[in-house]
Symmetry: D2
Subunit: 148 residues, 4 copies
């Protein structure tokens, strides 16, 4: 998982006070909140929303698997840069890598990892969850990016 030469999407987010813990740095679980924010902004940039609801019929993207390596601490009031790159596109699911960089000139790598997510349709009345194909327009947009 070397840093790719080009990301499919880049997002920035400030480390807030409530993101830190008593070790004085961002709590490790909050990296996943930051990456999720980047992912949702990526979807929005393509004209899609990660979660839609029409009454008891929801569509969403739960996680299948996540990994993260922590390389350096992230500190209060640092603006982190999160780069995403889709590595695999399947029928109903996809995997992307993420790379989180610290602020400033050094722009050192703070963390990196991957998320596999699956597109699902959820009937909250019947309590039924089933996988759903990735919408064609989204698939097309992602395929273009991955080919580019």
């Amino acid at each position: 998982m070397d840093v790719p030469s080009r990301f499919h999407f880049t997002h920035h987010r400030l480390v807030e006070f409530a993101d830190t813990d008593l070790a004085g740095i961002m709590h490790f679980a909050n990296f996943f909140r930051f990456v999720e924010s980047a992912e949702h902004a990526f979807f929005r940039s393509l004209g899609f929303r990660v979660h839609t609801a029409d009454g008891h019929e929801h569509q969403g993207w739960p996680r299948l698997e996540v990994t993260c390596q922590y390389l350096k601490p992230a500190r209060f009031e640092e603006t982190l840069e999160i780069g995403l790159r889709v590595s695999e596109l399947r029928n109903s699911s996809l995997t992307y890598g993420f790379w989180v960089f610290g602020p400033g000139e050094g722009r050192s790598l703070v963390a990196k990892g991957s998320c596999s997510i699956i597109h699902v349709a959820l009937d909250t009345k019947a309590h039924q969850l089933r996988k759903a194909p990735i919408p064609a327009a989204l698939r097309h947009a992602l395929e273009n990016m991955m080919a580019g």
Copy 2:
């Protein structure tokens, strides 16, 4: 808001690492998570659940107003004691006071405040929210406590 001689419910909860911030103490917003946990345990002790869903028809208890005074810091791995006392019972809403105590013999007061909550029925399909009377059995249980 003096400490009452008797609580309607008492709950204990450990301050976890993820509850702290870089000041080395529990983040102030997390007191509300602790108080909410105590409230939900209180409801369960009376045989009720704070949130139920049947398809697109939900019942819940959103907050109307909260207050909190912070008297002492709460620290990692301290078990806090949270006492609740209902002070006002209305048709669809109620108000309770909360008192949060630190661990050990001193059992000093760490925080105190109040929550006003309202019983609502939510139709997630029609996007309609309306206040709903407090269920009779719950009202009866609370009235008995307040009289006792």
Copy 3:
């Protein structure tokens, strides 16, 4: 606590997925995280940081008291506007009101409340916490705003 004609500071923040709860709206405790973000951005806009540490000597601004009234739900992917206005400036502490608005043309009031915060110096080695006067330059900046 009517909406003031002018705020001392205005901040915007997106409601993220992780900010919501199973009622489908922003969890009530997270409003305090949003308000805290606005407060810290306000301090930064004045050239100050809310938390500094030099070894075991910290300076910070813990909360004395907070209140919040919840008027409307805040939903996923809404950008909220948070207006702050300092209402009282004391030797070591201050109180500000906050008003949180929903997105779009309606810009309806979602929540409002207040925070009282105190300036402290903390010696983490001696475990001593004492209140500290508000720095003169910050006091001056705030007084100018309040007079304006």
Copy 4:
């Protein structure tokens, strides 16, 4: 990563309202908070604390790497069981697997993954962080468990 026949430690924790998101289930990042709670309870059960501070000299256990596979949703008011098993013990770091089970008779596997953590000494005055050997007594306790 099959479910082991025996865990080194087992912990229980209730899914709280604030742990859920608008998909109606526990937010994926909160699984790491639950696992961290289990880890810290494990350390306490062995007579150790994961974080100690003496003035500007801290000792702690930051994360090197985490992974998690999500198999089933976890829901509000479910009590989850978290089993831990140390798989590798190195000079300054260790890796454990975790398995999260749902409530009731089925006790189905909800999530599983791993955490690698490292023992560090942090000088918050000099801003120096260095890895520190695992304390001998802790190493001894863990070796006994792994042999048993």
